[in-house]
């Protein structure tokens, strides 16, 4: 593995009750880049993310993070190594304040690091500073998504994995979200983004993969895929141009 890649998924096979969900999936995430994975519902995106986060074992192949295999590692261990995920549905702590949610994001960091990171987060997401005492579960969808991303950033990720961050957000909020993700990348964090919002996702992707029925069917720079006929046929029902 070359050190230009923070994450490398190699020939991954995953089964659920004997049914193959991922079949020989290989992809890699370049350091300080946004890599996008798109695919229809049931294509295997969530399964792949579960495997990457240590929540699902695989039957063959390997996942290598920062030069070392993550086989058999529990989520908490991966977090300490700098692999953080914002899951679909966010899984915030709804009856805890914004501040508490953020503090727990830095659960494995020292108190001093937590204080410093907290300041950084408030700088990056000013809306959170205004709402430190609000309960996570009472915020709007967009604010919750910001909080979920900020909570993950509190863990000082090398790789941030985002599962459908635009789901259920208003269009204006979606645009803001993608700007935010680009800003995070520009700070040196690698991003693996799974999205159904194909158009926006590809527009922001440095590199992208298309997954279909458990296989990677297409890959290339985001701008290239955005113009491809296959993508247009699959997602917009028409050919490009």
């Amino acid at each position: 593995m070359t050190q230009t890649h923070i994450l490398e998924v190699r020939h991954l096979h995953v089964d659920y009750n004997g049914y193959a969900v991922l079949k020989d999936v290989s992809l890699s995430v370049t350091r300080s880049s946004i890599t996008v994975l798109v695919g229809l519902n049931g294509a295997g995106k969530s399964t792949l993310l579960k495997a990457v986060s240590g929540l699902k074992a695989w039957s063959s192949g390997d996942i290598v993070f920062a030069g070392t295999s993550i086989a058999g590692e529990k989520p908490a261990m991966l977090v300490s190594r700098g692999l953080l995920q914002v899951p679909e549905g966010r899984h915030l702590f709804p009856r805890m304040t914004v501040l508490e949610n953020l503090e727990l994001g830095g659960y494995l960091r020292s108190a001093r690091q937590r204080r410093e990171d907290l300041e950084r987060m408030f700088h990056l997401f000013p809306v959170l500073r205004e709402r430190t005492d609000q309960l996570g579960g009472t915020m709007s969808g967009g604010q919750q998504q910001m909080l979920a991303i900020a909570r993950a950033l509190m863990g000082s990720p090398k790789l941030l994995v985002l599962d459908e961050p635009s789901l259920g957000l208003a269009p204006l909020m979606v645009a803001e979200m993608f700007r935010m993700i680009a800003a995070i990348r520009d700070e040196g964090v690698s991003v693996l983004l799974v999205e159904q919002n194909v158009k926006q996702a590809l527009a922001h992707a440095d590199y992208a993969y298309v997954i279909d029925r458990g296989c990677i069917t297409l890959e290339g720079p985001g701008s290239e895929l955005a113009g491809s006929d296959e993508i247009h046929a699959a997602y917009f029902g028409t050919a490009a141009h």
Partner: protein, 291 residues
Amino acid sequence: MTFTLFLDLLAAGLITGGIYAIVAIGLNLQYGLMRVMNIAHGEFLMLGAYLTYVLHTTLGLNPLATLPIAMAALFLVGLLVHRLVLRRLVHSSPNIDVFEARGLVASFGLMFVVQNLALMVWGADLRGYTYLAEPLQLGGVIMPHNRLLVFAVVVVLSAGLIAVLRFTLIGKAIRAMMQAPLGAQLVGIDTARLHPWCFGAGLALAGVAGALLSMVYEISPGMGEPYTITALIVITLGGYGSIVGSLAAGLLLGLVETFGMHFTSPSLKMVLSYAVFIGVLMFKPKGLFAK
């Protein structure tokens, strides 16, 4: 009703309710956190009561001094039970629902085992000792010292527990695990490592509640069962996973029972509890304080 009688009932209700709260918080740590509906919870309360009884009557230890011993002993019992029973179930259950069902059945078995072990060792007789039973007069209310002591301990314990859960990182992590188990894992909280500790803490609370009860009431191997039921009612009332809710609901149930029994009949105690329980299930199934 005279004002003195009102104060009398209020004090009695808060003391009973305080015990309910401690027992229920213990059960909530098990059910709210890891979905272990520990039907044997009351049996561990009984063990705490006998431990204090034995340490006091054979070694002459001050019952108050046995409280930390009862807590520590039951905490260790909790680690052991988790290791021998629950850990296996976690590994052998395909999902959390199956785990919950199996945990329920396993804890049923545990209830019979622990209760019958106590019967073998101590027999079925009621046992008790006298401790600080002299009455104390406070503004017209006459109350034995031991009850006030029980209430003071309950207040200190609950306040301490809430402070830990609210202000320390580990306490916040425990609340986080209750509110969003997956979210907790994804911020790096090692839930598998914390679960046995929380189960132990739940039993420690049952143990200390039992130890406190032994100062006030007579004890027997079957004393724990009603407390399991009451704890179940309290955590439903207060909300699964809400510690402050359990505290408030425990106090409330204690008051409802005490005042209710005064105005109806002491034999209706369980009827009153169940009426509250059924009422909550019908009208506020997510708990009194759910938003």
